[in-house]
Amino acid sequence: MLNGILKTVQLVGSASRARLCSAPTELVGGISFKLSEEQQSLQELARKFTADEIVPVAAQYDVSGEYPWPVIRKAHSLGLMNLSLPKWLGGLELGVFDGCLATEEFSFGCSGIQTAILGNGLGASPLLMFGTKEQQKEYLGRLIEEPLMCAYAVTEPGAGSDVAGIKTTAVRKGDDWVINGQKMWITNGGVANWYFVLARSDPDPKTPAGKAFTGFIINRDTPGVNPGRKEDNLGQRASDTRGITFEDVVVPAKNVLGTPGMGFKIAMGAFDKTRAPVGAGAVGIAKRALHEATQYAMQRKTMGVPIAQHQAVAFLLADMAIGLETARLAVWRAAYEADCGRRNTYYASVAKAFASDVANKSASDAVQVFGGNGYNKEYPVEKLMRDAKIFQIYEGTSQIQRLIISRELLAAAMSVKS
């Protein structure tokens, strides 16, 4: 019964006076860091799946660059994909936080495979937030029935950070729209069943970004949709990244997301839900880096003792731990804000920016701990370094994140009377 009351207190958000750490929910005042039983089960299942299905094959997919369909199909059959899709569609309707738990676990195994598994989250986000029931049933329902992939196609060869500078056009033709243009670096580009595509629907250069773009749902098999070759990237090589050409692609009016002109808002809205999970992916790399470096440091001997007993090495591990603990908490806060129904832009950017830096430093330091061996493909840490880099680039570069954070904090500061 006490548990029920505490749960209500937590939900309502009112602060309790008593220290309740000993209770099952471990509330201190109004705050708890304890995962619920369901969250623990999800984390355990994801961890077990990672150990059994991802870790043993990660190196092989990294070398071959093949898309990890067997892993995807297994994850789908266990209900580990498409976690946020609504119950009325047959989904589990789990929150951003729960998605972060799963993402961190998969990423520990291989962040390339993790990106493939959870890449659906980015493509689905615009439909979840702005799609009609018919659109959701048609396109999100498909993802639940079969292990199908989708993709978020906004970036172009000439415009990444400058989303307002995209040049793909959408021209009205009767009730349909005709799309022409080129997208680049689209995750799942070659394997997606459908794409969310952002195109400029108002050719007048003076029209503000907030009114000039439209979001479309485009089936892969529409004539004129041409994915390019799979790009040969530095890291996350199991993930499928391609350029896509749209040549006179005819899209019916019912595939417009929201209303014409709303596209920019839709495209940006997706990121508030996906930046925390991307941060969680970076945390997974940091965790793996610390794990591998620690194991190695306990085995490898130098000057007669395991290198973990040399402070220079132990301090590298300590710094990795500092980064890991704090990055995870930043991600959790960002996810929590989203699940509370609040606009989490500031927290999401902080989490993504910090976690990606932590992942890169941890991976590099892990190679350092391994010494010469770390530089070699026979050992698992050079892959971590190659995989970590993209976290500072995709989903908003580290520079863009700092732009967002500084804008948010200055806006907050200016709204307070000095």
Binding site: E37, E38, S41, L42, L45, K48, F49, S77, L78, G79, L80, L83, L92
Partner: protein, 271 residues
């Protein structure tokens, strides 16, 4: 003495066997077990625990028999501390219909022996009336390999231990169980109700899917106490001490067979 007479109709045509599956919460197989400083036992506080691997196999077999329509209902039971509920939730998530938790107070937990567990299970069998009880052949913490055999004796039921295969017999009126024994494989027919214990190669347990994990929360989980069942948990053994196995001494490499024989003679191992 408890006697349960089953309608010997064709098993495939009946509404299926009722199966009771035992699950024990043990220290996870991957954990490095440490002896407590006072040598009274091993460290369990804060250590990862999970379902005994042989019990996972037992649960999997029960669920498969349900899927093959050989079984109608599968019930999981665990005798243990409050945390045994988590073990039962895992069983429910794998496809078991409902669970029973016989809660043992922490003070009595360390002294619990297979004889007590089998008596508790026998009492539950009296009310639940299962047609088949499947237990893991042994728990990986105590390696006793006793509970299944004791339970069968208490109930005066046939037993088929170390099962690597369970199927209906030729005439579908009994169970045909293949057992792994030292000499190879032994196949026997047992009439139901019976106790079967699972061995490693019986099956490979499935992952519980995430939707099933979520659904498991709503499946019934009943609690019972040893007092309610009228079983006395008085320990019949006393653990004197628990020690680490002796540290393995380094071996020595020899260059030739002659050297080897010479060394063996030196140690008085050959004449």
């Amino acid at each position: 003495k408890y006697i349960h007479i089953i309608n010997k109709a064709d098993m495939a045509a009946s509404k299926g066997l009722k199966i009771l599956v035992g699950c024990k919460r043990v220290i996870d197989y991957a954990v490095k077990v440490r002896v407590k400083p006072d040598r009274s036992g091993v460290v369990t506080e804060g250590v990862k625990h999970s379902m005994n691997p042989f019990d996972e196999i037992a649960v999997e077999e029960a669920v498969r028999m349900k899927e093959k329509k050989l079984a109608g209902e599968a019930v999981a039971i665990s005798v243990g501390p409050p945390q045994s509920q988590e073990t039962l939730r895992t069983a429910l998530a794998m496809g078991i219909d409902r669970a029973i938790h016989v809660e043992i107070p922490l003070a009595q937990l360390e002294k619990l022996q297979p004889i007590h567990v089998s008596k508790l299970l026998a009492k539950v069998c009296e009310s639940e009336k299962p047609d088949l009880v499947i237990l893991g052949k042994q728990a990986i913490d105590d390696d006793c390999n006793q509970t299944g055999q004791m339970l069968a004796a208490l109930l005066d039921w046939p037993q088929a231990t170390f099962a690597s295969k369970i199927e209906p017999s030729q005439d579908s009126k009994q169970l045909r169980v293949t057992r792994e024994v030292d000499g190879g494989l032994e196949t026997i027919d047992v009439s139901v109700p019976a106790v079967v214990t699972s061995d490693l190669r019986l099956n490979e347990p499935r992952y519980a899917t995430l939707p099933n994990i979520m659904k498991a929360k709503k499946k019934p989980l009943a609690k019972m106490s040893p007092d309610q069942l009228g079983v006395d948990l008085q320990p019949r053994q006393e653990v004197i001490s628990v020690e680490d196995p002796p540290v393995r001494k380094a071996g020595a490499k020899v260059e030739s067979v002659e050297d080897l024989v010479g060394k063996l003679r030196e140690k008085g191992l050959v004449k």
